[in-house]
């Protein structure tokens, strides 16, 4: 008796899981409708769907690989027998029939298109009797005012509709490629910002640290030596060239060296508490993404405060994530000003560290992993960073 019940229960487990999955999906997209719409609407949907399938490939730029992936979709979109995608010098992809016979003449025919940036219709001049490709239209793909290539659509006979459609598709491809360019420049910008961050550490901090070390040279040579070594280690880590990612252990270690150098200057005015769960030390995270937060806390803590300031750094284990909390009892910040900084609207260099860290975390782990900052003027600041323990493609060097 209980056996049967158990069997049913065990058999239900996968079903329950599946149901939960579907329920989650369903509630996540609450406006999923069941009616299918008129034929025109359906055609629109289909077109949009095909276009959306071609988009991801094109967003990676125009290469042989992406051209091959998207040409298939674009041909479905145009409904032609054959379609070619070229760049300025070669045919990147041919989708459809009669590749042998026609592909070698494509570049010849598109030369005027590439030169003028206007679409051209031409007769294929095919000798084969059974060849379905008699006529073609080539439309330029233009991004940022430069002609990057052409979309060539083939048809059995002349067609004004196809000419128009090919034009539109080429324009759509152009927009996707422009977006791809935008993506690339955003990545470049972030890379530049990382470089700037590395460089940013230098001037003030280096001078102050060296001055502080110098003050120990006579009175406490042993400490001066230690500090110099910390300084060397710290700068070596910060200026390292390779690798976008690091481990939490390495990052915390660099933070420790940073704090040692700061305390050489400010002595007892700075009290630091560390509380670290050893389980999370191997977590991989973007390079230099905690150090700016600590620097920020130190700045806020020491700014204007004559008394001791406290900083606490906590790293705890939270299942499949690690949680790092950096807290100071310093001057705090106006939440609206902070919001502006995180949106990238603030001018000057204030908080560029914060927004850079926020942006990189979102870029690597997704939008749900941005910084969470709790602050108010005069009320200190608490920054919470959540880091997933594993994310495909994120490896420390």
């Amino acid at each position: 008796m209980t056996g049967t019940v158990t069997a049913t229960l065990l058999a239900l487990c996968p079903l329950l899981l599946g149901a939960g999955f579907l329920l989650g999906r369903r509630t996540a997209h609450p406006d999923g409708r069941s009616d299918v719409g008129t034929p025109v609407e359906r055609a629109t949907f289909e077109t949009l769907h095909t276009a959306s399938l071609a988009a991801p490939a094109l967003r990676a730029g125009l290469t042989e690989d992406t051209a091959r992936k998207s040409a298939r979709r674009l041909r479905t979109l145009l409904g032609t027998d054959a379609l070619a995608l070229t760049n300025r010098s070669a045919v990147l992809a041919w989708d459809g029939t009669a590749e042998q016979a026609h592909a070698k003449y494509v570049m010849e025919e598109v030369t005027p298109v590439l030169a003028a940036g206007r679409s051209v219709a031409f007769d294929c001049g095919c000798d084969a009797v059974d060849c379905p490709l008699r006529w073609a239209v080539a439309a330029p793909v233009v991004a940022d005012g430069r002609v990057l290539g052409a979309v060539v659509a083939y048809a059995p006979r002349e067609s004004a509709v196809l000419a128009r459609a090919a034009d539109e598709v080429a324009r759509w491809v152009s927009v996707q490629l422009e977006l791809a360019e935008l993506d690339r420049s955003r990545t470049r910008l972030i890379e530049a910002e990382i470089k700037a961050l590395r460089a940013q550490i230098s001037p003030h901090f280096i001078f102050n640290s060296l001055a502080a070390i110098a003050s120990f040279v006579r009175t406490d040579p042993e400490r001066a030596r230690e500090l110099l070594l910390e300084f060397a280690d710290f700068t070596r880590y910060s200026f390292r060239r390779h690798g976008e990612f690091t481990t939490l252990a390495d990052e915390l270690h660099s933070i420790d060296q940073y704090l040692a150098l700061v305390r050489a200057r400010f002595g007892d005015r700075l009290a630091v508490t560390l509380q670290i769960a050893p389980e999370v030390l191997p977590v991989t995270l973007p390079f230099l993404c905690l150090q700016p937060l600590v620097e920020n806390a130190v700045k806020h803590g020491l700014e204007g405060a004559v008394t001791r300031s406290r900083i606490s750094i906590r790293a705890t284990d939270a299942g499949a994530e690690a949680e790092v909390v950096i807290e100071d009892d310093g001057v705090g910040m106006d939440p609206d000003a902070l919001r502006a900084i995180l949106r990238g609207e603030a001018d000057g260099s204030t908080g560029i560290g914060l927004s850079n860290v926020d942006e990189r975390l979102r870029q690597v782990f997704g939008d749900t992993y941005g910084l969470v900052i709790e602050t108010e003027v005069g009320a200190g600041m608490k920054i919470t960073v959540r880091i997933p323990k594993y994310r495909a493609g994120v490896y420390a060097p």
Binding site: L9, T247, H253, R263, T273, Q275
Partner: protein, 537 residues
């Protein structure tokens, strides 16, 4: 069994677990002892934690019970439970750590670059985790029933409640320390009473127990034990089934896998496994001793359904008065530690997978919901299923793990040509058939004959099925080999110190665990200064 001692013992174990879990973090007030606060978990500590999490109710209670009922053949259980780590050590430990994966779904996604495989693996992880949790809760029910006379469901519900509260409330922040503590507690709880029991046995004249040459009549074991008949019918096949399942199943247990993430590098993971082998090996010397003594002093337990209670009852039987009660209380506390540690480790692992992969498109933290779900289903199962011996039920979880995760891990790590379709086929055919067989066995679909034996010990055929399906389908789909296979394989098999190719900034891993990194990457002579200095502190 005297309640007046046992209940406080259980309470103390629960309290200590919660306290260490909540406050056991290393805290440093100044950065000068930064190295204390942020030292990575060394192999010994991590190994104790793995052992603590691994030694479950099946080990603590079940092995002795099986030995009592079925005799020395059952020694294959402790052997298998231990030897699984040898396979893990040789084939999996270091590459798994180097893959950077936290859970098995992570590994599948990283190696095969496929979300589908990830999703299927997570379903299997949840399934195997649930199968493993059921006997833990049942064991708790049995223990509390014997200690206090409370109904069977109460113990399971209690453990479930404690685990949910501790895990969901974030109380398990220092899980490594908790689990390491639990290992030593469990070892003490068996070792100290064992010492006195052997003394008592020696005082009684020291006659060895007799095991009947033929197995006991199955009717005497209780109708609720479906596996007993098959074992009696085909002992050799059943033994091989057990060996295959335990040898190959250990590497896929979700709560064991997540612990390797804590090791700082692949080399440390390997050393950890060696220490685990030693710790687990020492522990498994003890339960057979209890089974052996139980044969002399409590043979009637074979007739009742409570052979699993041998360990709990022996101290009271063999040592009189307060001493016996105290020893009994110690054993009871250890048993409870076994349920708590394994259950909390499994719940953490399953909840992590549930919240990441089963409840999609939420983004926000719903780990707590995952904890509830991870515990609710096995609790229901434990209340419904009754009477499967604890060690057998765990054996089924091992069989499922061996038929699904073992092919995935071994082929994923050692075979370049594994493809996502191949992995899916192996998971479904190997793991799926094992899961089905286990379900049919528990439901009592076949109660005798070869069919029953095959279903009750599926690993012998389901593991080859899993491997074959993975290999054949992978060979048939050579186009689907993931793009970055070479890079991934390189990362899995090269020591970390060779990864970057250029000078690696000396990190904590180099300092806290200096011995783990013999290839020091620093070239500048002066730079060795602080490293040496830190070591002396």
């Amino acid at each position: 069994m005297n309640e007046a001692y046992a209940i406080p013992a259980v309470a103390v174990v629960v309290l200590a677990t919660v306290l260490i879990g909540g406050f056991g973090l290393r805290i440093s007030r100044t950065t000068s002892d930064f190295y204390v606060a942020s030292r990575t978990v060394g192999p010994r500590l991590n190994a104790a934690a793995i052992s603590g999490e691994y030694l479950s109710a099946a080990s603590f209670l079940g092995v002795a019970g099986l030995l009592l009922v079925h005799g020395p053949d059952m020694l294959w259980y402790p052997v298998g439970y231990t030897a699984g780590y040898l396979v893990l050590l040789v084939f999996v430990a270091a590459p798994l750590r180097r893959s950077g994966a936290y859970t098995l779904p992570d590994f599948a996604e990283g190696r095969l670059e496929s979300r589908e495989v990830r999703r299927v693996v997570s379903m299997f992880v949840v399934g195997a985790g649930w199968l493993y949790l059921v006997p833990q809760l049942q064991g708790a029910g049995l223990t509390l029933q014997i200690l206090t006379g409370a109904p069977r469901w109460f113990g399971g519900a209690l453990v479930a409640a404690v685990v949910i509260l501790a895990v969901a409330a974030g109380g398990m922040r220092s899980i490594t320390f908790v689990q390491a503590f639990q290992y030593w507690l469990k070892l003490t709880a068996l070792l100290v009473p064992a010492f006195f029991l052997v003394l008592a046995w020696h005082g009684d004249g020291g006659s060895p127990p007799t095991f009947p040459s033929t197995d006991l009549p199955s009717a005497g074991v209780g109708a609720g034990q479906p596996l007993a008949t098959s074992r009696a019918d085909h002992p050799l096949y059943a033994t091989y089934g057990l060996i295959v399942a335990t040898f190959l199943g250990t590497m896929g247990l979700p709560h064991v896998v997540v612990r390797f993430y804590t090791s700082p590098n692949g080399r440390a993971a390997r050393r950890t496994t060696v220490v685990v082998l030693a710790l687990v090996g020492v522990f498994y010397l003890l339960p057979p001793l209890y089974g052996w003594l139980g044969r002399i002093y409590a043979p009637e337990l074979t007739a009742a359904q409570d052979a699993d209670a041998t360990v709990l009852l022996l101290p009271g039987r063999m040592v009189d008065g307060v001493a016996g009660d105290l020893l009994g209380a110690l054993v009871a506390g250890g048993a409870f530690a076994a349920f708590l540690s394994t259950a909390s480790g499994l719940t953490m692992a399953v909840a992590g997978v549930v919240s990441q992969d089963v409840l999609p498109a939420r983004g926000v933290r719903h780990f707590r919901l995952g904890v509830l779900l991870a515990m609710a289903v096995p609790l229901g199962g434990a209340l419904l299923v009754d009477g499967v011996p604890v060690a057998d039920a765990v054996g089924m979880a091992f069989a499922v793990s061996a038929s699904s995760f073992c092919p995935l891990l071994v082929l994923g790590i050692w075979w370049r040509r594994l493809t996502p379709p191949g992995a899916l086929a192996g998971l479904f055919l190997g793991g799926g058939s094992a899961l089905l067989a286990v379900t049919l066995t528990v439901s009592g679909a076949a109660t005798s004959g070869w069919l029953h034996t095959l279903l009750a010990w599926p690993a012998v055929w389901s593991v080859p099925v899993g491997f074959l399906a993975m290999i054949l389908v992978s060979l048939a789909t050579p186009d689907a080999i993931p793009t970055h296979t070479t890079a991934t394989m390189t990362r899995l098999h090269l020591p970390e110190t060779l990864w970057s190719g250029s000078l690696r900034p000396p990190g904590l891993q180099g300092r806290g665990e200096l011995r783990d990194q013999p290839y020091t990457t620093r070239t500048h002579d002066e730079a060795q200064g602080p490293t040496a200095r830190r070591e002396h502190k």
